[in-house]
């Protein structure tokens, strides 16, 4: 399987994107941004469609739309976009825009399917390099801002009282998230970014006791999901995204069951 170039690219790009999604996903969960992440992927879909319409690379359109979306959300306030109604309006409008741009362009239906559901097998060596560079930059920024981001994500009241620039942290994180989503859309597709950004982190929450361990476990689970997905997809010809989400969901329910059992049999007062 690994003697094919396209599988090598898929494994390298998939692993890198999974590490990034696993790490950033912990803060997505802590900050309650899972549905905003989902909105970003829809914004990204319309961005990729727009890029196709004007003759750009889809990643350029993805990055343009998601980063502008992040700045708009940051400017208007995350609270506004957490509202159920706001999210459903955004999802619908951007999905509609994506369909409009696609209908105006000359792209075939397979392109739509690639953007919506991802295509790990169609990644070129140039794509791999772009993904590597973006992920390294993103992880470096996440490491540099780790302490402040952790404080603001896990104890927002304390962070504000300690004089942290909470508005700046919020907008900066949304920008990082938008770049992460733009990268991941190419691998797992707009509809499943949500899965890779939230399920491994949710699973890790049930089996770890510290934030750092949660990041490590979440990244490991995301990487395992990509590896399992690629391998099974290669063997069976079924879509890779199905295996990734099925694996992550299985891990989640196992962790949930284990955590419930642990709580049930834990002696009172410990």
């Amino acid at each position: 399987m690994l003697h094919y170039d396209f599988m090598q690219h898929a494994f390298i790009a998939g692993t890198i994107v999974a590490i990034m999604c696993g790490a950033i996903g912990v803060f997505v969960m802590a900050r309650g941004l899972s549905f905003i992440t989902h909105s970003f992927s829809h914004i990204g879909f319309s961005g990729a469609s727009f890029a196709t319409y004007v003759g750009w690379d889809p990643l350029e359109g993805l990055l343009l739309f998601t980063t502008v979306g992040a700045l708009a959300i940051g400017r208007m306030g995350v609270k506004f976009f957490r509202r159920e109604a706001s999210i459903s309006v955004m999802l619908s409008v951007f999905l509609g825009l994506g369909i409009l741009f696609l209908s105006l362009s000359t792209q075939s239906g397979s392109f739509t399917s690639t953007i919506l559901f991802g295509s790990v097998v169609g990644i070129s060596s140039r794509d791999v390099w772009v993904i590597v560079v973006l992920t390294v930059v993103l992880l470096c920024l996440l490491t540099l801002g780790y302490k402040m981001l952790k404080f603001d994500s896990f104890d927002p009241v304390g962070a504000e009282a300690a004089g942290l620039p909470i508005r700046f942290i919020s907008v900066a994180f949304l920008l990082l998230l938008s770049i992460g989503v733009a990268e991941a859309v190419q691998i797992v597709g707009a509809l499943l970014v949500f899965a890779l950004m939230t399920i491994p982190a949710s699973t890790a929450r049930h089996i770890t006791q510290s934030v750092f361990k949660m990041i490590v476990v979440s990244a490991v689970l995301a990487v395992l999901g990509i590896w399992v997905g690629l391998t099974l997809s290669y063997m069976t010809n079924a879509p890779v995204s199905f295996y990734i989400t099925a694996f992550e969901a299985l891990c989640y329910f196992l962790a949930l069951g284990w955590s419930s059992l642990k709580a049930k049999f834990q002696p009172i007062g410990t």
């Binding site: 969960m29 802590a30 309650g32 490491t143 540099l144 780790y146 302490k147 402040m148 952790k150 404080f151 896990f154 104890d155 927002p156 009241v157 304390g158 962070a159 504000e160 009282a161 300690a162 004089g163 942290l164 929450r205 770890t208 006791q209 510290s210 934030v211 361990k213 949660m214």
Partner: protein, 249 residues
């Protein structure tokens, strides 16, 4: 140690309504100033002004330190913490350390956290998840997080309000001890007149648009507390305060 901490002639309007009117007072290093007053009198607003979260329309908050920028610690009544998130007490307290780009903790940081946990009697909770702690334990952890910064000024916003009387006493007494030892200027808001009378060196009584500052017994005696508290409670509190001061209780 802080050299000067004073609030000078501040006015604060919220939604066009004057909440604080020409308010001035100062707090000495190691002094505990109790803040009392009815709901909506501007007690929490005052703490937010000191924290820099709300800017006063007029007046200033002066804080000067002998060597560096003064550090303010804050303990609110409650915190929006997701109890499902796996953050251990030790990790939670470390969040309060002064912020540097370095993502890891140094040996000095670890010693500081350990000492703060010993001071606040939270060492035994180090490995426990914050969501699994009782109300009293959580308040001790919040206090530890504020103290780990080595603050010059400590602000407590009804931080013991949700606790039983025994836990309230324990925590307020601990705060008083630490503030005196470490020369921290402390402002604490409470609706419990007994607690304020017993532990505050001075009291700031705020009502909408008016205020008075002075010794606990003088303020409680002169202020019109009937609106706020049962007269019998005020009398009892005053009695306890006077007796404590007389007999060193």
């Amino acid at each position: 140690m802080i050299e000067n901490f004073s609030v000078d002639h501040i006015d604060v309007y919220i939604n066009g309504e004057k909440i604080l009117d020409n308010l001035s007072f100062s707090v000495q290093p190691g002094e505990m100033l109790g803040i009392i007053g009815p709901n909506g009198a501007g007690k929490s607003t005052l703490l937010k002004v000191i924290l820099g979260v709300i800017k006063p329309q007029n007046g200033t908050v002066e804080m000067t330190h002998s060597d560096t920028r003064p550090i303010v610690g804050y303990v609110p009544q409650s915190r929006a913490i997701d109890e499902e998130m796996p953050i251990q007490t030790w990790d939670f307290i470390s969040l309060g350390l002064p912020h540097r780009i370095r993502p890891w903790l140094t040996k000095k940081d670890r010693i500081l956290i350990k000492e703060t946990m010993e001071l606040t009697d939270t060492s035994r909770l180090a490995k426990k998840s914050i969501g699994k702690l009782s109300g009293g334990e959580k308040q001790r952890v919040f206090l530890a997080q504020a103290l780990v910064r080595n603050p010059d000024v400590l602000l407590l916003d009804e931080s013991t309000a949700n606790l039983d009387p025994k836990a309230q006493e324990e925590i307020t007494s601990l705060v008083q001890e630490l503030c005196t030892e470490q020369h921290i200027s402390t402002l604490f808001i409470s609706h419990d007149i007994h607690l304020v009378a017993k532990y505050a060196h001075r009291v700031l009584y705020l009502t909408r648009g008016h205020y008075s500052v002075g010794r606990a017994q003088d303020i409680i005696e002169n202020a019109n507390m009937d609106v706020l508290y049962q007269p019998q409670h005020v009398h009892d509190a005053l009695q306890t305060s006077v007796e404590n001061r007389r007999y060193g209780g």
